[in-house]
Symmetry: C2
Subunit: 330 residues, 2 copies
């Protein structure tokens, strides 16, 4: 089983590569080699029992997609994307990477002709949905993105479905909820505080909470995202019919529930590092976001997420802090 | 008011140009000039009180969109498209014309920068929706195309909404139902019989009906389609919010109701020219099509269609047969 991860240097791509190195297989089939491609140099995971190739490559440049697909990988993870804020700030770059890059990859697969029909796992986003929402946001809610990023992901979903229907590839699109706890430095994303109010205090640092404690949003750990990517790679496509894209399960919690869980896991001193500093701009953006999804379809197909927020904190402590609370968190 | 019709040589484009020549204005503003562009030479409508330019131009070729937009038209009708059957038969051509052509047009508008924000009326299609359907197919039904044509139209809708949201243009997308009675020679489209069973008998010719009399489908006349295009050109975009695409009203009738109306208008001898010759392939395709839409949103905004099928026949007789029944139809 040859595997390609486009976007292999990103947070999820890196964790996915590490997971494949650990497991050595996908759905019972051994991984024979892995290629990681990204615009910045990907890092090969330690301990892989199969060869790992790393490539600095911009999928949106002519000829690059053909090169990545030349070895006819059996599974392609298409994670390469410009993130929401950047796609909004730079229209051309967003469309070039998120739309043209996707299309070039699919067309490079098509160029191989019949006989090559790989599994393509595409990371979409709940940003394909925009307010006003129905009470029930399931996979039948219409595509109503309110950002260029969401528009580009929605177009990617449509292309994935059409190319799958035509027998060119075997696509599965998974719409990830907001990932929490995102490791690393704080970023400027409007959603950054969902991770920041957990991550910073656990590292002994103050965190700013720009919204009210009653804000509710679906979250899942990076580990759940990787689990679901691997699950998507192995699933029987026929179970999806023509509707190849699925909203992934997310744990719908309030900020208050997040903070209570942090207090339970790490104590008052840590939870008290959260400073409330309301930001009307962030509050307004977040007010337009969905609070919960009906993911019965993904649930039935075996996709999963955490069921309590303390588990999401535990994943961060295990995967990013070496399993032990440090700093102020004792 | 400068007007451009991309796809001006098609059936709807031609009728729209004739309508503008007759009216001389859109929503009370005089048309000062009209440009018709298409891959085959458009015909300037007779009797226009304003200059009409006709251009043979392929929107998907580099530089062509810029040329069409150079004069900064106030209203652009984007009707240029490869039809469903051809987009399915030739994947590359369909994506090139229906996706790249649309995007190049929108980007040519963007290249003018702030200060130019024209109304763009885009003809989408009910092909953006695919089975299985809910009972209620309204504008909130999700985009689920089951053809490459429907996929390309859905992508066009998403681009139109995103470019509108960003203030680059002021888009309105209208999803036309099946047009009936389509003038001219029979074509190979699976939907062709909806027009054929009326048109051929009215011209004294036998028509083949490949499906059962109980088949139900939404129809509207070419005149209603043109009315709605003109209405879309003049509507206040703010009324649409971020959801710029609307399913147009269609008259939901059964084939039996079509035939009864033909019999009432033109007599038994004409209606008896319909020969039943079941075609399982066509029947299977048509079984996957919607039977009716909830178009409350478009209705409230003043879009319209015929309310009885005899009116649809009357439009054909008036607009295509010079107002009088001919041949066998007496």
């Amino acid at each position: 089983m040859r595997v390609l991860i486009a976007g292999g240097a990103g947070m999820i791509g890196r964790k996915l590569a590490e997971r494949l190195a650990r497991d050595g297989s996908i759905a019972g089939s051994p991984v024979t080699d892995l290629a990681l491609a990204d615009v910045v140099a990907p890092v090969a995971p330690a301990g892989a029992a199969f060869p790992v190739e790393t490539l600095v490559a911009d999928l949106a440049q002519p000829g690059v997609a053909e090169e990545l697909v030349a070895s006819r990988p059996d599974i392609l993870f298409q994670l390469a994307a410009v993130v929401s804020g950047e796609a909004e700030a730079d229209l051309e770059k967003g469309y070039r990477i998120n739309l043209d890059g996707m299309r070039l990859l699919l067309d490079a697969i098509r160029a191989h002709g019949p006989g090559y029909r790989p599994r393509v796992v595409f990371t979409s986003s709940i940003a394909v949905f925009g307010a006003p929402f129905d009470d029930r946001i399931d996979d039948r809610f219409h595509l109503t993105p309110l950002t260029s990023y969401g528009t580009q992901k929605a177009i990617g979903e449509l292309l994935l479905c059409d190319y799958t229907r035509r027998g060119i590839l075997d696509g599965v699109g998974i719409r990830l909820p907001t990932i929490c706890v995102r490791p690393g430095a704080p970023n400027k994303a409007a959603s950054g505080f969902f991770s920041g109010i957990i991550r910073e205090p656990l590292n002994g640092l103050e965190a700013v909470l720009p919204v009210g404690d009653d804000v509710r949003h679906p979250l899942a750990s990076p580990r759940a995202a990787v689990d679901n990517l691997v699950h998507a790679a192995g699933i029987d496509g026929a179970l999806l019919g023509d509707r190849r894209c699925l909203t992934m399960p997310g744990l719908s919690v309030t900020v208050a529930e997040q903070i209570a869980a942090l207090r339970a896991v790490a104590g008052d001193a840590v939870a008290d590092l959260i400073r409330r500093e309301p930001d009307p701009t962030v509050a307004r953006i977040v007010a337009g976001w969905p609070q919960a999804f009906d993911t019965a379809r993904a649930d039935a197909l075996g996709f999963r997420c955490e069921s309590r927020f303390t588990e999401i904190i535990d994943v961060y402590v295990a995967d990013e802090l070496g399993g032990a609370l440090t700093g102020a968190a004792r």
